[in-house]
Subunit: 150 residues, 12 copies
């Protein structure tokens, strides 16, 4: 069975409570459930982890090297703009990693327009709220299918 | 019926012939047909235009003000990084515009990492090849549904 | 009879409909009529052209070399900040060109504070809405009178 | 009666003697007289002050808070590019302030292309020599009329 | 009872041992005791945490959303200049957060002059050694009183 | 008796009238009275001066070399970001100078994030409105006590 | 027969009339005739197009994919410094493209020293007036011969 | 007995599996064993720690203040380029710290050319693969001998 | 008789008292007397003015237009690096102005390496303490002699 | 007889041996012979010098002032991007100097895109391998003929 | 027999006399003797050259192409930060070149943090005084052994 | 007897022939003779060297360590802006070195405004033509006298 990992970076545990007009009313649990349902329909198993600790996210990414994960969705939160170590962890994997953002990061502060993650990600989806995750999941599955076929 | 416009910017007419290992083997007609089929399933009508002329793209965007278009997908090609006029045209519309890129523009030359379009777009999808357009269409439809409901 | 050309760049055809609280309720036709009346009082004939195409604007500027135009008002819209070709076209003329902006471009995004046009223009007027054009016309006529006398 | 203040910044007292081919032969007194005549026709009273002292200019701007001045024309001279304090003084007023420059500052040294004043001014006029002041006065009066009517 | 949280970032556990001529001879325990005494006089309860882990600091900030904390003092240490995630955690809270630094960070290396935290903090105090914390506590309490009254 | 000087830079005379939602309703006289009362309790005499003239502020700082002033509070206003001469005047004194700002300057325009004064000040307090001055006074007195004791 | 395309960008139609001391007295027709003669001697057919429209130039470049053109000379004029779309069009071709400039662009304004075209061109010739085109033609033919032989 | 600490930063646990053509086939355990053998020959005891957590590395560095460690080798991985807190931890120690990199970081992405660690390190060795560690160990021991003698 | 003006900018009145190891023990009066004696030997009259007010310095420079001054020595102090208005005042004069600095400004903070004055000065002397003024005076007199002769 | 000097800068002596896929298989002697033959056909004498010493190249350029050289071809190698002294030597000559590069320097490292030489050269040719020299020679001869005729 | 070249760049001949507290008391002869002894133990012959002439260093590097040198140690001194020609010479060799610095260049002036040499060197050692050379020699020999084996 | 060295950098041998309106009609021999005469009057012996070779200038500076030279005048020409090695050579000397420029380098190209030499020079004189050298000599002698006395 296809196994997909979803990683939520710092502060995403606050979803639903924090600035709902910007980030929507859905909690992270809502999003994970929605993703699991969607993944299930495509015959994929989905595991989710949120952490405010850069090191925990990196450790979990490394685990994919030994647990048959086929692809990763990651919303790196603020680490997007500051973590070279997270970038290196992604670059070290051999599976596709898709970068997700709820909001349009390009319409915010200038420092949010630079992403350390983007150059080592397979693709990006941003600006569609919780739907960003759904689209990213489909993009990831399409990427996996394509490489399976070729 | 929901009407969606797809705009393809400069050089995208070459799709399928140009650097297939980067951009894939699908032609622009293939992509448009795929999108029309997908839109049809969602009860939406889709119109497509490719142009190498900045002015033609702007003129077409303006037309949406009078032809009931509900949303736009745009792959601005090289104009992404140089056209303030295209940005202004998008900002002048009242309907959501989603930015699409076939390749991961963040993994290419530094000047491709700045987008004049992103800050005025509703969302972005990039890096999934032709699938980027499909995901963007779904993102656009989800955005339209959300605003219809609220 | 003095002949004056007014060029309106990309997106200015939307005037009156687009963000009226920023740009006012007057349409471009209103402005052109206002300018023609004002020019008429000063014994000048005024011709106006709007285009979203950089090339059309350049072609029209070149025509002034053979049609007795004595001066130009130009609101280059978004091309102000990106078009070297438009700048070169203006620099190639021997008649004065005045740069006009409806809004105070200096109070907007940072990239709007650089103008490729300003260094080759005779003068600039910005921030007075439709009145900017009227003041620019007077400035142009004063410039023409001054060079006639000397 | 409408009262308008004209402020001339550092070195403008030299007008007429200093680089006449750049700044023209008119003295500051000539310009003030021309402006007073023009203001009179519009039923406005005009007061003028030149100073080479940043503090004197700021003090005078503050006075407008208590002396019924309805608008200000200011040519900040070299302070345009260096004085945050002057900018703050203008931002603290509730009346429109129009920025004036005799020459086309964008065609000179690079440091002259940044204006601390422009973002807090209602509008700018530059490049028309002494006529810049006349156009700025009309722009100011138009601005005042518009806000009176609405 | 008013509850205040004090967060000390990386390396502040070394206080008293590390470069005493720069940071003084007081240990972190000394400072916490001093702060508790001062808070007690104002009828406020004070809890303190030091960590060298960005994630631990963020987790603790999130807890304030459910434990009735009314305000936070934070000395983010080196994270001041590099952590977008910490900034986002502070921005997500609804209570005032005051930034504290023992030394005058502006008189040190250039990279210490940029703070990711400052734009989302209610205020800053720096340069007074251990006294910086005392002043920040008073500033925080004054801020809380003010918002209680209004 | 301890003598303390309080210097208020350009535009601070407008306090109370100018943007009260940003700067509060207290006038500069209110603040000075509050500071004098606070200083009196600590056995210190306080003298205050506001000026919109850089030179007047520098002259007054120089006077402290001969009038037994033990420390200075300064809110340099807009000069914070532009005056090297004011910085040099402070650097030339042998007594501590504390920099005060009413608002959080780091949450405003980018050019306000650079302070010429900070590197030569003993400490900074910003963001607490009129309370910033009170905290700065206490910080200054603590600094003076510390150097008296050692 | 070898077929070569010569593209002249914006404003080059003015050659001969515009600033003859900088660009020489030859018109574009003179240059094209000179090039055709030179090409004919080498057994090559030469077609020429001038346009002020970025899109027209891109469309024409695309045509070379189906019309047996073996190489291109392009003087992109002001688009050299601003057009990513033109660069992408050149990069998409499989034939050599040589960049030509009449004047020494490095001795002019700083923004003219950056070329979007140069990194995707086979070579550059600049500074020799109309002769630049002749040298570029020879360089192109030499490049074609070399790749034919190997 | 001399005690030396070796710290391996984020992602170095993957050594041997990750991009062997860049980083070689040796695992981290291989390197640690090699280092322990080399240290033993010099009469030094060596302890090693790898962590993907910035905070764990800082905590361990602090422990050297109380456990008789005489020197540290550190390969900070991606934290080299982003962690001010790690830099501060090193600067707070009184023992020499040597920075090690397996690859030539200067031949990679531009952001890898800035090191927050280098200015507070005693020396650097980079580019020799696993041998970098051996050379760094010798450099550290030489540094310790020198300071013992003087 | 040749008349020379010496202008001393902000903070130079403190000379002799302020940081004598950097600026020497001579007071400004000592320097002026030394300069007057030296000027007298060359048959020149010397007038001196120190001010901490930018405006006073500009006013005095303007006066040279009507009082037969043949040349100026100026040590602009901190205004060197921030005053466009002072630069404009110097540029407006027709007599040579020599820039003097006591210390080697290039060996201090980076912002002191940019001089607004240098490009409009006839020459500069810096780094020789009070002797800088003497050398500058000789340089000025040599410049005056040269232009008298030619 | 026309005399032309060809200067080859640092490392060009290695031509033919060094990276033949980039620079071709021709040695510098091959190129010089090719150039001499071409020059002979045009009735010009050609002298060639290669040196890895900046000073030797400058000395040789100075000699042209006394040895009837009519023009220079120079491939400054790495000095292109670092030598102000070489630029000054070229600027001091009264004869045309043409800059030559074998490879397309604009398609290499960013620091190779800045040329100190270009602004003082008559023209540039780059990207055609050894043919670059031949084209440059023709460009130089054309330049010399033109100035002879006029 | 393995042959190794050691190149010392500008000013290194002064070692031992110049700033001994920074560079140590050993002369260059001491270092060369130490290196020769160390090389001898490893069965390698070592030749050394110091020069203040960029060209001499480049010439000597070229010679390694014909004299069986297997590897190079280079301390480029000040040329590290300014010589593109030296970089090109190193890049043209096929043998490994190791960059050595006595002091920690990253703890000095900002311009010393950029090395033109590092990207084309096999590795770097810096900060260990004369020991830097010894470690670099070992690194070079290890590199040579590795490539011999594989 | 006091011994002074005068070093003239690249291209200064051309003085008198090169751009006389900028650099004057005096040859370098004229200047050296003038300097020797002036030095003689002060009881100082003067030796002069011009070279276009960076290495020769550095070698000569090193010789002053063993030949009793008491001070150096240097006009580094173009090396001022590019040579770190020359800067290091000057920094290694224990005698004062004065930087001289004939023209006002601050009124020329932007890259001429940065001097590697200035921060390690005792003082600078520029802009007075040949007189710059005379003033620099006097400044050097004054510096030597001062250090002799103290």
């Amino acid at each position: 069975m296809k196994k997909v990992l979803v990683l939520h970076g710092p502060n995403l545990n606050l979803l639903g409570s924090r600035e709902p007009d910007v980030y929507g009313h859905q909690t992270l649990a809502d999003i994970d459930n929605m993703l699991k349902a969607a993944a299930g329909k495509e015959g994929a198993e989905l595991e989710s982890l949120q952490s405010n600790h850069e090191g925990v996210l990196i450790d979990r990414l490394h685990q994919t090297l030994v647990d048959n994960t086929l692809g990763v969705l990651i919303n790196p939160g603020g680490l997007t703009h500051s973590s070279v170590a997270l970038r290196d962890a992604i670059a070290a994997l051999k599976i596709p990693v898709v970068e997700v953002h709820l909001s349009n990061i390009h319409a915010r502060e200038p420092f949010r327009q630079h992403s350390y993650i983007a150059p080592v990600a397979a693709g990006q989806v941003s600006g569609f709220g919780a739907t960003s995750y759904l689209l990213a999941l489909q993009g990831l599955l399409a990427t996996l299918n394509k490489s399976n076929c070729s």
